[in-house]
Structures are given as structure tokens and as C-alpha cells.
Symmetry: C2
Subunit: 371 residues, 2 copies
């Protein structure tokens, strides 16, 4: 599945040489974001387990781990964990893994590194335990508690305690604690509302952990939080680690939530059409960035905004005075990091106009399907 022509292309040394559309990462901004988050967690009892799903890029995870304050890496899929295992020996798959094939892969991985997986059902516990026994390993588990998002997770309290007891007694598994992701609260723009609702959501999680311990079952880990709530959940007493991911690269959506991180990635495009004084069309469309959190914004062009993001085109309204013309490069700021990065094979790492490296997005898509 290599391009028949890929061997002919030179590695670019400056922006203008990169074939568009392409994903750019501003290395200095990325490093500042990573350092800022590491500094926040340097002081507290709560630590950071940065989420690999946001970037799927070993070089970014390597920088996150090198910055300190991390207890390991969070992943969303087994495919991500298989890639991240080369970087880190303590992985959390913060997601339910239930299929025999996936559980077997977790078992194989657990021979090499410590792996913990979220569970929210008796069937899920049995599937993982069975794979652990087959592989001759112990797999860690966190009971996934619904903290209000209404997706996966058991209810806090009695249901969670019952599941914890089952997990703790399952041969092959080690109950390590609980997790709950307040995904529905990440985008709340009002800081006071976000704080109040997050503390309330996390309270049930922490109390569930206490009730498990009160039943005589070890429950060391309480995992929660995202980029919108890391400094709220991360300061709730009893929370031991935070799963934030988007903070490293950021996006236009989180940018309007008011968190102290910089926009560190963009999609580079080329103006391919200027049909009128008020309209430009760039070659970076919906196959190069998603629009599930809204249209991208246009970086550094006064008065310009995206009016349509079609499969292959971004249609951009510009003031008539705008000098953008055919062949010019443009950078768009995606509205949502994770699914946008997932569309690309590499990041071009840039410092200003200079391309300093090319970073494979090694866990893009579903690596198990690659031939």
C-alpha cells in the first residue's frame, strides 16, 4: 500500500516543499504544552497518564514521558497499546476490550509490559480473565464507572462494588482501581459550571473507590479527567491519575474552552482556486480534517473564514482585499484533534518555515488491518 511514486519524493526541508494537504506540528508549541502539563502534575499527589489516542504518534508520547510527572500512557485501543508498548512499560487501555482476538492480544502484550484495561461487565471480566490465564499473565483492570457521560460504565456505588468484587476474585486479573471519564463536561465554556459539575461527577467515583477499599479489596488507582478538566479532577482528593490527551496538540474547540495550552498543529493546504474576490478554495478538505466540532479556523488571514469543508476542498470566504492567490499556502486550525490526526500518516515537524523532522503517526487507523 505504498504509493507507487513515494520513492521519488524528496524529504522536504521547508513548508513550501511539502505536498498538500499535510499535517504540521509546531515543535516549540508542542513542547511548551507538554512542559506546562508536566509542571502542573509535578506538585500534586495526582499524576498524569497522557492519552495516546489524541495523537497516535510515538515521538509525541516520547516527549510527554520525557517531560516527567507521568505514571504511564493511556490508550483507547489494543492497536495503540501495541505501538505504545515500545515506549512505556505501564499502559492503561481506558476502554472495554471484550473480543477473544483482542483479549488474546492484550494477554500477549501483558507478557512484555504492565497492562490495565477498563471493564464494565461480568462478560468482559470473564473474557479478559480467560485470555490472561491462556497467556499465563496477570492483566490489571479498572472498573469503569459512568460519571454522567452515559456511554460505557456501570453506575457508581453498589453495581460498581459488585463488579469490583468479581474482578478481584477472577483468576488472571488484578483489580487495580476505578476509572470514570467526564467527557460530557470537557467542552463546558463556563469555568465555574465546569468546576462544579466535574467535582460532583468525580465525587461518586472517589466514593466508589472508598467503598471497594472498605470491602477489603485493594483499589489504588482512581483515573479520570481530560484536557478540559485536568486541573479540576486532578485536584479532587482521591483521584490518582488523569487521562488528558488533547492538551499536547490542542484544537479550535478546546481553544475556546479556556485552557492554558497553545494551538500546536494545523493542516497545511494550497490555494487551488480563487474564483472571485471574496472566495478562495484550498485543497485541504474533509478528508484532511474532520468537522464534527465545527469548521476549522484560518490561521493568520484577517477576516477569512471557512464556509464549507467538502471532501477535497475548503471553501474560504475572504475580504476582497485579501491577497491570497493560486499556489499560496494556507494553514487551517482543525476543530477536533483526535479524528483529524487519525486521517494522516505523518506529522511534518516544523520550526517556523523549516521542516525539522517527519514523525510517523504509527497507530493511525487500525494497524491490525494493514497488510
Amino acid at each position: 500500500m505504498r504509493s507507487p511514486f513515494s520513492g521519488r519524493l524528496m524529504r522536504p526541508t521547508q513548508l513550501l516543499e511539502i505536498p498538500t494537504p499535510a499535517l504540521l506540528v509546531d515543535v516549540a508549541a508542542l513542547d511548551r504544552n507538554i512542559a506546562r502539563m508536566a509542571a502542573f502534575f509535578a506538585s500534586g499527589p495526582c499524576r498524569l497518564r497522557p492519552h495516546f489516542k489524541a495523537h497516535k504518534t510515538p515521538e509525541i508520547a516520547r516527549r510527554q514521558l520525557a517531560a516527567g510527572s507521568c505514571v504511564g500512557v493511556t490508550c483507547a485501543t489494543v492497536g495503540e497499546a501495541e505501538v505504545a508498548a515500545a515506549l512505556c512499560d505501564d499502559l492503561l487501555i481506558a476502554n472495554e476490550i471484550v473480543s477473544p482476538d483482542k483479549c488474546a492480544r492484550v494477554g500477549a502484550l501483558a507478557r512484555e509490559v504492565a497492562v490495565t484495561v477498563a471493564v464494565d461487565s461480568a462478560a468482559g471480566i470473564e473474557a479478559l480473565a480467560s485470555a490472561a490465564r491462556a497467556a499465563g499473565v496477570s492483566i490489571g483492570v479498572l472498573v469503569d464507572v459512568n460519571v454522567g457521560q452515559g456511554r460505557c460504565g456501570v453506575e457508581a456505588g453498589a453495581a460498581a462494588l459488585a463488579l469490583a468484587k468479581q474482578a478481584a476474585s477472577a483468576a488472571g486479573l488484578t483489580l487495580r482501581g476505578v476509572m470514570g471519564y467526564e467527557g460530557h463536561l470537557q467542552p463546558l465554556r463556563d469555568r465555574a459550571e465546569r468546576e462544579t459539575k466535574t467535582r460532583e461527577a468525580i465525587r461518586g467515583l472517589v466514593e466508589t473507590a472508598r467503598s471497594i477499599r472498605a470491602a477489603g479489596i485493594p483499589c489504588e488507582v482512581v483515573s479520570s479527567g481530560g484536557t478540559g478538566t485536568y486541573d479540576i479532577s486532578g485536584r479532587v482528593e482521591g483521584v490518582t491519575e488523569i487521562q488528558a490527551g488533547s492538551y499536547a496538540l490542542m484544537d479550535a474547540d478546546y481553544g475556546s474552552v479556556g485552557v492554558p495550552f497553545e494551538q500546536a498543529f494545523t493542516v497545511l493546504g494550497t490555494i487551488v482556486s480563487r474564483p472571485s474576490a471574496e472566495r478562495c478554495v484550498a485543497d485541504c478538505g474533509h478528508k484532511s480534517m474532520t468537522k464534527d466540532h465545527g469548521h476549522p479556523s484560518v490561521k493568520g488571514v484577517e477576516g477569512a473564514h471557512v464556509t464549507a469543508l467538502n471532501d477535497e476542498h475548503a471553501v474560504i470566504a475572504v475580504p476582497a482585499s485579501c491577497t491570497l492567490s493560486i499556489g499560496d499556502r494556507i494553514q487551517l486550525v482543525p476543530s477536533h484533534t483526535d479524528p483529524t490526526v487519525n486521517l494522516h500518516d505523518v506529522f511534518y515537524a516544523v520550526e517556523g518555515e523549516r521542516v525539522v523532522d517527519v514523525w510517523p503517526i504509527a497507530a493511525r487507523g487500525y494497524p491490525e488491518h494493514r497488510q
Copy 2:
């Protein structure tokens, strides 16, 4: 960028063995769609140039070409054309290509196959002509006319004629005709409205071709149409070829437009959580299918509908009587073909529960960025 574990996986022979999420193509339904479209164009003076961008999959293009009625293949990008050149010796890139690097790749391609590219500006003509001269080839061009979509394209009439004259006189280029894509009319649900507006939109395109010929310039090609309008544009006198693509695989959006093609692809997922009687969660989220044309529909589960499509999860409301349980497989029908297929590396070709082949989506993403 191979999965470190990919070598360990067996090629699946049945649905249950496929790691999820995964893209399935129903080979029989695909072949019926392809045959139906080929039959429509077998009788008319207008022919079919199926759009590769919809599937990016050599095996599907091969079947389209084998079914007959095709004058070649349409592509949206140079990367697609480089892959399609192995299948077909007459390619249309129905899109503006303006960067020196991309134009040089078109020049290289034109040494191997006939390549025609859309142009809508003097700068675009000069960039392509320059690359053609450097490569010692002739590159075909179609003047791209705005037929109402308001994206790329010059206005019909005088502006298009002026550009045609420039293209016809540019050393290195061969003016082959005009194109106009009525993308804004594809989704109109009312057939009568779609017919009236499409005929009206295409009239200006056909008249532009006549005015170019009246100026003594050859203009053999008039290219237009999509899956929603192929049987309208394709029967307008003067239109010579149709660029439809989605008809082969179809999606839930086109499915509600009333075109005579079957849904031929789905995303396969696994139920990973059943937190309540009324809710299931599957592992096929927004990284496995887009939601720009709405949520996917659920195949074959009475009363089930998707209520949220998050990055890694599809949240599905089900009747309490629904027997779906953890570990069960489910198939979702994506709302939009092109960007969904673009998320995946392969199609699993299935006949009922049997996996009969695995087809690489060779032009997924931007092949030029692969290392």
C-alpha cells in the same frame, strides 16, 4: 508504520474472525450496482468515467472497468491518479492541480497514460503547461465551469471561453473540453426538483462547450454528473461523460435520495458494553466512519438507532427486548461513503458470513506522505 503485531494475525475467513472495527463490502451487492450503472450507459452516447475518490480501491475500479461502458477513470487527487494508472490508461483528475510538485507528478504520469486535469485559472494553466513542457508530454485539460455549486470553476459563457482559448494555445496542453459538477443538487430528495435544477445547471455547461467550438476550438468532452444526477445529466444532449462514484458502494444519505443502487458496504463493530436494557455501545466510532451526513443507521436490528458517534464508540439506543449482548457483532451503515472509506486500509470482501478476500484501499489518505 506496520503494526508490530500485524504479522501474527491470521487472514479471517468469516465475519467473527475480523478484528473490529472493520470495513466490509458485500461483493454481490457491489457487483449488482456496478452492472446496473454500466447497463444504463451501454445505450447512450454519454459514457461513464467512475470516480475513484469514492472508494480508492483498485479492485473496485477493476470491476467497474470490466463491466464496460467506461471511457476511463475519474480521480480527485494526483495520489489517486498514480494508483489508478496501474488500472486504466485514460485518467481525468476532476480537480485543480496547481503546485509545482503536483504538476510535475502529473507530467510524469502523462508519460505513461493519458491524463486530463481541470483548470479554472490562468495561473493553473501556466503551472500545468510548464510541467508538461518540462516532462516533454501533453497534458489534457478541461475548463472547470461553476454550474451553481459555488466552489471552484469559472462562470459559464465569456469567462469560460476566454480560459478555453488560453488553454488551447498553451504549449504542452491539449484542451479536451469542459466539466461542471452539480454537487449541490445531488442530495435533493424531490426527483422533479432535482431533474429541473440539474437540466438548468447543465444547460450553461453545454452552451459553453458550443461557444468554444463556435470559436473554432475543438471541445469534445463535456463531463458532469454524480450518483444523484447520473440519469439526468447523462441524458442531456451534449454531455459526453458522467463522473459518478458513490453508486458502487452507496451510503445512507444517497439511500434516501431514491437512486436504484443497493447499500454495499458497512462498518463491522463489536458490542463492548450493554450498560442498560435500552443502551448498547459498539467499538465502531467516529474514527471508523464519519458523521458529516448524519449518524449511521443500524443494519438489521429492529428499533435500534445511533444516538452518539464518539471517537471510539457508537452509542446505540435499543428496545429493551433487544438481545444484543457483549461480544456480539453489529453492522452500521455509514451516512457518507467517501470520507468513511478513507479512514480504512482494507475492505473485507464478504459473501454472507464468509470473508472471500481482502482488498487494499491503496489510495487511502495521501500516499505521498507514506514513508
